[in-house]
């Protein structure tokens, strides 16, 4: 069965979706991704959907699900490269993905993730110090 590769880059997971998502593929991706987050203890998930030209409410929900699941597991999700038509469709469907961070391309998405992680580290420094 077709699978979407999930690449590990340091503390982040990188997913580039190069095919149009159909329902089962999306569900598999959701499943794989969450397992991967728990296995690698990733701090951030970057999903590149620049090649996705068709979305429906189900895809929108899957993206939202991935974001909220990752959040519970302490990973920030960034969706990058959404096409204008896709953005308009999602807004028209009423899915504004308010829990998801977005960026224009992978580069900016990585920057955003680094910023977020850096912030987290700073916040938790006190905690770590007490452990050490």
């Amino acid at each position: 069965m077709e699978r979407i590769p999930i690449l590990k880059m340091g503390p982040f997971l990188l997913v580039t979706i190069q095919v149009d998502l159909y329902d089962r593929l999306a569900l598999t991706l959701e499943n794989d991704l969450i397992n991967m987050v728990s296995k690698t203890e990733a701090k951030g998930v970057l999903i590149d959907i620049s090649a996705v030209s068709i979305v429906d409410s189900f895809m929108g929900r899957i993206l939202g699900n991935i974001a909220s699941m990752s959040k519970i597991m302490d990973a920030t999700t960034v969706v990058v490269g959404m096409q204008p038509a896709v953005a308009i469709t999602l807004v028209e469907l009423g899915l504004t993905l308010s829990g998801v961070h977005t960026a224009l391309d992978v580069e900016q998405g990585m920057e955003l993730l680094r910023d977020k992680i850096g912030q987290l580290d700073k916040d938790e420094e006190g905690l770590y110090d007490s452990f050490i």
């Binding site: 969706v79 990058v80 490269g81 959404m82 096409q83 204008p84 896709v86 953005a87 308009i88 999602l90 807004v91 028209e92 504004t96 993905l97 308010s98 977005t102 960026a103 224009l104 391309d105 900016q108 998405g109």
Partner: protein, 294 residues
């Protein structure tokens, strides 16, 4: 219309043309600023020739018949060109109506001794001319509508420019009322430009939007959400006091959206979001002038 009157009109064609032209030239509604006399003369002659030819045919009274086809074509052409040139309806219709008077005079001369025939012929001539003037008006209005439609299209295109004010910052001055169709155009233009320039911040300036009702606000929120989905932040600027009041009174929730009173403050905010610092250059004004190439 009988053969006799058609023949009479044909023989007096030159005189008719002269009288008609002098009628038109005397008329206060003549627009010699929009159209030369020579052009008018040529147009009128062409029309009259076709009309007299049609009078001679058997179905002279039916203006929908084949004999009138060249006449209708000429009239359509004249009315459309006049509508585009900006003639008023009165000025356009007086063209054909001024011919009526001249034709009546000729018929009156011809049937001086026979009032009954004169009456019949005048009625039938009137009928033809009226229906022709109706054709004129119809085409005129059609021509005006085309002009209006074109202007509407142009307006919606002109009024949605997306400007790149800084590296990574786009500005979109919205002028005029926002309806669904325009929002769609604006949204698409903005999103395309975000992709093309890789900008991270878009400023929507609504100083040119006369009123904001709940529908307009919803359209704005949609645009902002779509931009956010693509990874760009939106700032709405140019919110006037009245608009702020309406928004609050309508209970529209804009708390999740950055809003600023002026474009300048929105730009300032974008600079700080992108970690850009703008400082005044130190040095004498003389030096600065040289920098600008004075």
């Amino acid at each position: 219309m009988n053969k006799e009157s058609a023949a009479a009109l044909k023989s007096k064609k030159k005189q008719i043309l002269e009288n008609w032209l002098s009628n038109q030239l005397q008329d206060a509604a003549l627009r010699d600023d929009l159209m030369s006399v020579a052009e008018l003369q040529q147009q009128s002659e062409e029309f009259l020739t076709a009309l007299i030819k049609a009078f001679g045919t058997s179905s002279a009274e039916d203006t929908d018949s084949e004999g009138y086809e060249p006449i209708r074509d000429i009239l359509n052409e004249i009315s459309i060109s006049r509508a585009r040139q900006g003639f008023s309806p009165r000025e356009t219709s007086s063209y054909i109506l001024s011919l009526k008077e001249v034709l009546s005079n000729v018929l009156e001369d011809r049937f001086k001794e026979d009032p009954a025939t004169l009456y019949r012929e005048i009625i039938s001539m009137n009928k033809i001319m009226d229906s022709l003037s109706m054709v004129t008006m119809e085409t005129y209005i059609k021509g005006r509508e085309e002009v209006i439609l074109r202007q509407t299209n142009e307006m919606s295109e002109i009024s949605t420019p997306v400007i790149r004010v800084w590296e990574g910052i786009l500005a979109l001055p919205i002028i005029g009322t926002l309806d669904s169709a325009r929002t769609q155009v604006v949204m698409e233009a903005l999103l395309e430009e975000i992709v093309a320039t890789g900008s991270r911040i878009a400023i929507l300036d609504i100083s040119g939007v006369p009123t904001v009702d709940s529908l307009v606000a919803q359209h704005l929120i949609k645009t902002v959400s779509a931009a956010r989905l693509m990874g760009a932040e939106c700032i709405i600027s140019g919110i006037r006091a009245e608009i702020a009041q309406t928004i609050v009174h309508l209970g529209i929730d804009l708390t999740n959206i950055y809003t600023k009173a002026t474009l300048a403050s929105a730009l300032k905010m974008s600079f700080s979001m992108l970690n850009i610092q703008v400082t005044r250059a130190t040095g004498t004004s003389q030096n600065n002038k040289q920098n600008f190439g004075f």
